[in-house]
């Protein structure tokens, strides 16, 4: 017998839901009227002799005293040995249940099935979920078959040619990646052969122990506390009332300690995965550092020690992406990420060279090597198309993305397509979102789906250039974009914090939780409803498709894929794309 006690005369709906769930599970229940005193309740309990007493009450200063009196009276009456006492309601946490003298406490968001599980002595469904939750493989079930044969033929031809071209060449980054891998395998630091391939600032850091400007080594005590933070702060996954795509958030405060704190907060608020952001100077510098390094500006330095510390702090089910996509350390970053246990990385030769500042020839060589390393570590990667933010039309960005996907498939890697959900310059100039933010984004995903059987992960983050400095507006936009991704059955989605675009400085943990809360609330709102785009979406699909075909055809006519990048086939100077200069002239033929 289970005694249900609504101490709160108004908010007893939760208790009624639990009553129904208990009865459906075959338990007998007695629901008391809401206006009984503690002694009347205990007198009833003495007669009924229930196995459990479930009390619901919204808390305030006085309510605590009433609940404490109820538990006290139950103990004094000697019924605690036969009756377990459970408290539920807003603001209830296990710590508060303990203070009030109850055996268990359930707060907001508790499902009736969790309470039934507790009563039956089974692990709570959500806790079970958190512990047994397996990491989701975003690429599972995809064949990478080109459904559009003509586009597929063009993309694969370009990929074949690029592969042959790249295999004849090498770069300092390709060689460093090999040396780094050997050092990691042997558990040692890199040697002088590695340092010979690095820029002076990196070489100096190794030889003199002086870290680059605006970075410093963590003290031994800080390292110890960082380890403790990871060990002691286990975060349970937030139960979802309604399905939402796999949710990624970005971190990169500069400080590994703060990163772990941000990750824990994000995960507690519903994030499924996190994306490591490194400093922008890291992409322009030849060579990666070692040691526990903290950076006083945005971006967390990629070192074996920093990555390991963050890895250790992650809950086992949290997906972890380390980006390698744009700079002079692309293959080596993949090696470090793979060795540290990252689940995902990020590679795109076209974006890195048209929007990321790296020389196209250099990144073509490095990108191919990076994809091979990703395949070796069985680490899927997304092909990000952020060049759209510079003004490159979506179709041109998708054309190079599809070549990258074909290339990845050829080296045994598993790519994920990452179209942007953004109000890009192309969209603004063309007026494609003058009515709504839905049609153009729907068209992007559907075009890609029609061409290739591959996972889709809109990003990064969604809603770029639709958000303002207003945190409410920003969170709402994020929530709606994430729901649109969910409606399109996207495999994952990356979201920003509510102050990301306009923070002008460090991002607060509260701003991260804003958007996570918005996404889950929006998912709850839409449920399994369908979002219907207007007829414009079909027109946009045709537009993007023709851009893809035109770009691939033009690239095929170019002397090589790399030359096509220089020539603006996948994004021209007029579009806003500028082939990068970092690492120019460093590729050599083997």
């Amino acid at each position: 017998m289970i005694l249900l006690v609504p101490l709160d005369p108004v908010h007893d709906v939760g208790l009624k839901m639990i009553k129904r769930a208990l009865e459906e599970a075959g338990h007998k229940t007695v629901l008391l009227p809401p206006d009984m005193t503690p002694s009347e309740i205990i007198a009833r309990a003495e007669k009924i002799r229930p196995s459990h007493m479930l009390v619901s009450r919204t808390l305030g200063y006085q309510a605590e005293e009433v609940l404490a009196r109820l538990a006290d009276l139950a103990d004094a009456a000697g019924i605690r040995e036969q009756t377990r006492m459970i408290i539920g309601g807003m603001a209830v946490r296990p710590e508060l249940a303990q203070e009030l003298g109850f055996d268990a406490g359930f707060g907001p968001g508790t499902s009736p099935s969790e309470v039934v599980a507790f009563i039956e002595g089974r692990p709570a469904p959500s806790a079970e979920c958190a512990h047994q939750r397996a990491k989701k493989d975003l690429t599972a079930g995809y064949t990478y078959r080109f459904k559009d044969e003509s586009v597929g033929r063009l993309a694969e031809q370009l990929a074949d040619e690029l592969l042959i071209w790249a295999d004849e060449r090498t770069s300092p980054a390709v060689e460093r990646a090999e040396l780094r891998y050997a050092a990691l395998m042997e558990g040692r630091s890199v040697g002088t052969d590695y340092l010979a391939l690095c820029d002076e600032v990196v070489r100096a850091a190794y030889l003199t122990g002086t870290p680059p400007k605006k970075t410093r080594h963590l003290t031994v005590d800080e390292q110890r506390h960082l380890g403790m933070l990871g060990e002691r702060q286990y975060v349970a996954s937030r139960p979802r009332s309604h399905p939402a795509p796999v949710l990624f958030v970005q971190y990169g405060t500069g400080c590994p300690f703060m990163d772990v704190a941000h990750i824990k907060a994000a995960v507690a608020w519903g994030a499924d995965g996190v994306v490591h952001f490194d400093p922008s100077w890291g992409a322009r510098t030849e060579g990666l550092l070692e040691g526990w390094l903290t950076h006083e500006e945005d971006g967390s330095v990629i070192t074996p020690e920093n990555l390991r510390a963050i890895r250790q702090a992650l809950e086992p089910w949290v997906l972890w992406q380390v980006r390698a996509h744009r700079g002079l350390n692309t293959p080596e970053t993949v090696v470090l990420a793979g060795h540290a246990g990252a689940d995902l990385t990020k590679i795109n030769i076209a974006y890195g060279s048209l929007g990321g500042g790296t020389d196209p020839e250099r990144l073509a060589v490095d990108g191919v090597a990076a994809m091979r390393w990703a395949a070796k570590f069985s680490m899927p990667f997304d092909i990000v198309t952020n060049e759209e933010l510079s003004g490159v039309p979506a179709g041109k960005a998708f054309a190079s993305m599809l070549v990258m996907a074909a290339l990845a498939k050829k080296v045994g890697a598993r790519p994920i397509l990452q179209p942007l959900f953004c109000n890009s310059p192309e969209v603004m100039i063309g007026g494609y979102m003058s009515d709504n933010y839905v049609d153009f984004n729907v068209a992007k995903v559907q075009v890609l789906r029609d061409i290739l059987d591959a996972p889709v992960w809109p990003g990064a983050p969604v809603g770029f250039l639709t958000q303002t400095e207003d945190r409410v507006q920003s969170s709402l936009m994020t929530g709606l974009h994430a729901c649109l991704a969910g409606f399109l059955r996207a495999d994952a989605v990356t979201i920003a914090s509510s102050d990301e675009a306009y923070s002008g400085g460090p991002i607060t943990a509260a701003a991260r939780t804003d958007t996570l809360t918005a996404v889950l609330a929006a998912a709850r709102f839409f449920g399994s409803c369908v979002i219907t785009p207007t007829a414009e979406a079909e027109r946009f699909k045709r537009l993007i498709y023709s851009q893809i075909c035109d770009a691939l055809t033009a690239a095929q006519k170019a002397p090589s894929f790399v030359q096509a990048l220089y020539d603006g086939v996948f994004g021209s100077r007029d579009d806003g794309a500028h082939p990068g200069r970092n690492g120019r002239g460093t590729v050599r033929v083997k």
């Binding site: 002694s39 005293e65 103990d75």
Partner: protein, 350 residues
């Protein structure tokens, strides 16, 4: 082993500050001791007022009983961790010895039987004193301890006279005379020359008191009440015809049971009425009040919806409490706990 509980009349009356004072004094005196709590000690901020809360700092060698989850989250280090067969809302309760000094989150047994098992486990570790921190106005688990310290404070009421009256009532209820009887599991009385059980262990409301009164026969006899007794029940007993009451002994398990409703003044008033009717009122087990600690602090809810620190006149409070009770009244913020330890020594001398 002597087990001392620090009980309060409400939240924020100074229980944890009193605990800290006794812990400090015990450490200074070199007395081996163990600590537990019937609630949750470890929040930096009060969950309702969001004002800072005092924390318990543990020195090396002190024994503690707390939920496993709390050990893991505490700043201090521990050795010889032993799990007790007791569950709490925060997981199984463990006994451990502090190997590295620091703050500890203490969340121990919330019920009487579990507290007894926990205190015994702490005693097995060599604790000569077992200190139990109370929670809110909860007192029932203290029915298994040897001595209580009462933390009274303005958080309970800004009315100093009321605070004094309540302390006086608590002292008197805890000082009821002791009658050494073996307590049965149920309320038991004599009727028609034989011992009869009421079928319940507590006197909860007028219904079961009326049943009892209808069955009682005149003349001498004992009524043994092993579990709780509420003000409603005491009030109903007060309606007993004097002829029926005269010569009867009412024996409660201990004074703590009469405090459980958190209405000590009313309970004492009702007990006095029972005396007047002709009952003699006893307890089976004495749990003496060692001292009262006074705390002028209270969280004041301001017009902007924010709680802020506030105080009643400390001297006025101390004077009123000292006039109301016979045991020492201590300002724990001013004392280092030494005076409380001297009271413990006196108990041991007895």
């Amino acid at each position: 082993m002597t087990c001392i509980a620090v009980i309060g009349t409400a939240k924020n009356t100074g229980k944890t500050t009193t605990m800290s004072a006794i812990m400090n004094a015990s450490s200074t005196e070199g007395i081996p001791y163990g600590v537990t709590s019937i609630g949750y000690d470890g929040e930096e901020l009060d969950s309702i007022t969001l004002l800072p809360k005092p924390r318990l700092y543990f020195r090396e060698g002190v024994h503690v009983a707390t939920a496993r989850e709390c050990l893991e989250a505490s700043e201090a280090g521990f050795s010889s961790v032993e799990m007790l067969p007791l569950e709490s809302a925060l997981g199984p309760i463990c006994v451990a010895t502090v190997s590295k000094a620091g703050l500890v989150i203490v969340a121990g047994p919330t019920r009487s039987r579990h507290l007894r098992i926990t205190a015994e486990a702490l005693a097995r570790r060599g604790s000569r004193l077992v200190l139990v921190d109370g929670a809110l106005g909860r007192v029932s688990p203290a029915s298994v301890v040897d001595l209580v310290v009462l933390a009274q404070g303005a958080s309970r009421s800004r009315d100093v006279a009321r605070l004094a009256g309540e302390c006086s009532a608590i002292e008197r209820l805890l000082a009821l005379p002791v009658k050494h009887v073996s307590m049965p599991g149920r309320v038991t009385y004599r009727a028609a020359g034989r011992s009869v059980s009421l079928g319940t262990g507590s006197l909860m409301d007028e219904t079961n008191v009326n049943t009892l009164l209808q069955r009682l026969s005149e003349g001498s006899g004992q009524i043994l009440v092993p579990n709780a007794v509420t003000c409603a029940a005491l009030s109903a007993l007060g309606l007993c015809p004097p002829g029926l009451a005269r010569g009867k002994s009412l024996v409660f398990a201990d004074g703590i049971r009469l405090l459980v409703g958190n209405c000590a003044e009313r309970s004492w008033e009702l007990v006095q009425r029972l005396f007047a009717l002709g009952f003699t009122v006893w307890v089976a087990r004495s749990i003496p009040l060692l001292a009262v600690t006074a705390n002028p602090y209270y969280p004041r809810l301001d017009a902007d919806g924010t709680y802020r620190d506030a105080y009643v006149d400390k001297q006025l409070l101390l004077r009123a409490l000292r006039e109301a009770v016979t045991v020492p009244v201590i300002d724990v913020r001013e004392s280092n706990g030494r005076s409380l330890m001297e009271l413990v020594y006196k108990q041991w001398e007895r």
